[in-house]
Symmetry: C2
Subunit: 181 residues, 2 copies
């Protein structure tokens, strides 16, 4: 495998790639077998260290792995990967090796066992730090412990699910004089 071309992304900047609300691919790994699922229901919770919250239904194969291993990677795809993202959502890791089936490349992460999806422009290596809301809502709280970015990707065309396979693709960026983070 060729060396990774991505660079570390400062943890204090993670919120800037998450708070726009992109579809992400969540990778997990159990007994040496990686899995990947798309997810839209996530939010930033805190800036630095970066804390995220996300909903993973117990109907998903990834649920048990995430709860047991307490690790995952949040990978952010761009529009070129949209059809692969949907294929990952239409199948279950219970019966399909999605990496092989859909041509995604698992790459070893630095801090967690779950793999990075090489094709995604951002990868956030995460540890589960709070499971108090898992029973009620499937809501996991994650801390990002290492982050990577392909910094050649300017104005990344992320995809944002609007239900039933409808995706809004990121458009132009505007800049306004905000005093906020």
């Amino acid at each position: 495998m060729a060396p990774m071309k991505k660079k570390p992304l400062a943890l204090s900047r993670v919120y800037r790639v998450i708070e726009t609300g992109p579809v992400v691919l969540v990778t997990t790994s159990r007994k040496g077998r990686p899995n990947v699922m798309p997810m839209s229901w996530h939010t930033m919770i805190d800036f630095d260290p970066p804390i995220l919250g996300c909903v993973v239904s117990d109907r998903n194969y990834s649920f048990q792995t995430l709860r047991t291993t307490r690790e995952c990677v949040i990978n952010i795809p761009t529009v070129e990967l949209a059809s692969k993202v949907v294929k990952c959502g239409n199948s279950s890791g219970k019966t399909v090796d999605k990496f092989t089936a859909f041509g995604l490349t698992p790459r070893p992460a630095a801090r967690v066992t779950a793999p990075i999806v090489d094709e995604c422009y951002v990868n956030l290596e995460c540890e589960v730090v709070d499971t108090r809301m898992v029973a009620s809502y499937g809501f996991f709280i994650l801390q990002v412990v290492k982050a990577w970015i392909d910094s050649s990707k300017k104005g990344p065309r992320t995809i944002h699910h609007a239900g039933k396979g409808s995706f809004m693709v990121a458009g132009e960026t505007i800049k306004l004089p905000s005093r906020k983070a």
Copy 2:
């Protein structure tokens, strides 16, 4: 005030306007005095009844009102309102009547005391249903009890904060054959 032109949005469809991750304006009201603040840190939690989670920092003037009144409206602006959204974020309801100062129109809601922002294309009237994570993270869990939409707005150009006053504006919509909600 002219009658509202918006129509009810079925509660089962609320997730479709939230899961793309738009900046929203949160309105609250205390002692007859409404306030409005922008927010990007929110996620869907469940489909129907629609449950949302959002982070409101205790540094924000809206925090105490939300905690005390247990009500708010989540309003979704489009790009025409971007400069007003930023002005709302650059000021505090403690010292400024933001509706008057920035030319936003508060309209009575149907089910809660907090007002609707008339200029926003979607308004979600919400009740706080779970405060267990407020002490740890400022994370409120809301149930949408009534929803409104300006259905003339096709492909709404929502804005998605990327930090420091940088906003991604919603681009084109693509449709892929997903078997998921």
